[in-house]
Each structure stands twice: as structure tokens, then as C-alpha cells.
């Protein structure tokens, strides 16, 4: 029987490149606290990094927020403001690679990931994958 802490969590930071690493540290620390598998933590780090980066590059706000809830079934992670738009060409390199958009990468990591309003929502179940 698991005994993770339950309840909400939230980290809000500036919409600046240096905050991307902070966001990864935050989600990795949360994942370790919850006892998530290392591979799941690595996937969360990448997904959060992509979402925070997309938020910064599209300059949708002066702040980026990672929030969510730890519940009996799993952990729900939200990142925003961000949208499912193509971010191709926004970063250095300017290479047209359709598979590099936020939605494609995040859904490759978490097939249940979805965009709700201006938030990317990822749910990680406590149940091991089938």
C-alpha cells in the first residue's frame, strides 16, 4: 500500500530561460518524493522542460506555472500557459521538423497528455503500465 503525501503543489517562476532548469529540478524532486520510477521521472523532466520552453518562447505570460494534485490514483501535472501550437522555428536552429512540436514530444512520452485551456495536463498513474 502506497503512502504518498496527497494534495496540491505549485511552482510559479519567471518566463525566462533560466527557469527551465528550475522547473526540471522541481518536477524531478517531486517525482523522487513520490517514489516514481526513474524512467518516469526522466520523462516528466523532458515533458515539463518542453512545456515551459514553449511557454517562454511564445511569450504568453511573464510567468510559467507548474501545478497539480497528488491523489489516490496518481499525480496530475499541469504546465501553463501553453498551447498545442507548433513551436517549430521558435528556438535556435530554425529547422523545420514537424515532429519537434510540443504536443508530439509530450504525447510520445505520455499518451494521455492533453491540452486543457492554456494548460498542458499530464496524469501519471500509480498503477504500473500494462
Amino acid at each position: 500500500m502506497r503512502s504518498q503525501p496527497e494534495g496540491p503543489f505549485k511552482l510559479t517562476g519567471p518566463s525566462s530561460p533560466d527557469h527551465v532548469a528550475t522547473a526540471r529540478l522541481f518536477i524531478a524532486s517531486l517525482g523522487r518524493t513520490l517514489g516514481l520510477h526513474d524512467e518516469v521521472i526522466d520523462d516528466l523532466r523532458l515533458a515539463v522542460s518542453e512545456a515551459v520552453t514553449a511557454s517562454i518562447l511564445t511569450a504568453r505570460s511573464n510567468e510559467v506555472t507548474i501545478s497539480g494534485t497528488i491523489g489516490p490514483e496518481g499525480v496530475l501535472v499541469q504546465v501553463g500557459p501553453v498551447s498545442d501550437q507548433k513551436s517549430v522555428g521558435a528556438g535556435p536552429g530554425h529547422v523545420d521538423q514537424p515532429s519537434l512540436d510540443l504536443g508530439s514530444i509530450v504525447r510520445a512520452l505520455f499518451p494521455n497528455a492533453a491540452f486543457e485551456g492554456d494548460r498542458l495536463v499530464i496524469t501519471v498513474s500509480w498503477r504500473p503500465p500494462a
Binding site: 530561460p17 533560466d18 527551465v20 532548469a21 526540471r24 526522466d42 523532466r45 523532458l46 522542460s49 518542453e50 520552453t53 517562454i56 518562447l57 513551436s87 528556438g91 535556435p92 536552429g93 530554425h94 529547422v95 521538423q97 515532429s99 519537434l100 508530439s104 514530444i105 510520445a108 512520452l109
Partner: protein, 111 residues
Amino acid sequence: MTHLTIEQSESNGMCILTAVGEIDLASSPDLETRLSQCLGDGPVVVDLSSVSFIDSTGLRVLLAAHSGASDGGNPLGLVVTDGPVTKLLSITGVDGHLNIFRSVDAASSDA
């Protein structure tokens, strides 16, 4: 916050960049700068085997450098071992677009 170091060396006229740390929005401009400094002078190898994290920002830099290197006639080789770089290349499907090697020696032999 600096979380990427890039060391440069040369071997038989080839520029070798060894990246250690994390490549993201904050650090990828450093990689882009170092690549642009090397790419006009001959073959380039980027050793990514000690990169602990990379996202699409870094991958775009590598793809752009690969494209520029191909246009200039100087090959760009990437040294990648199992880990975060391999995973990102795999899930984005761009691994087939880049010159990937398992070691610096292998990349050097191919250059």
C-alpha cells in the same frame, strides 16, 4: 545558471566538442556558438555521451548544424550513447537524419 560545459579539442584537423551537462533553452546558445566557430574549418564531432539532459531546443541546434555542415561539405558527427539524447532522437524520429556514432574514435574514423 550554467549547467553545460563544452570543451574543444582537435585531432587530425577535426574539431571535437565535448559537451557535459544539460542542453536546454538557456544553454543551447552556447552550443550553437561553439558549433558555428568550428563548422567552417573542417569536420566536426560533438561528443554528447556525457549530456545528462537535452530537449528539442538543443536538438534544433544540432539539426541546424548538421544541415549547415552538409551544405558546407564538412561532415558533422554526433557521439551518442544510451541515455537522454538517444531517447529524444528516437521519439522525435530524427535519428535517421543525423550522423550518429557510438564513440569519438568511430566518428573520427568516418570523417
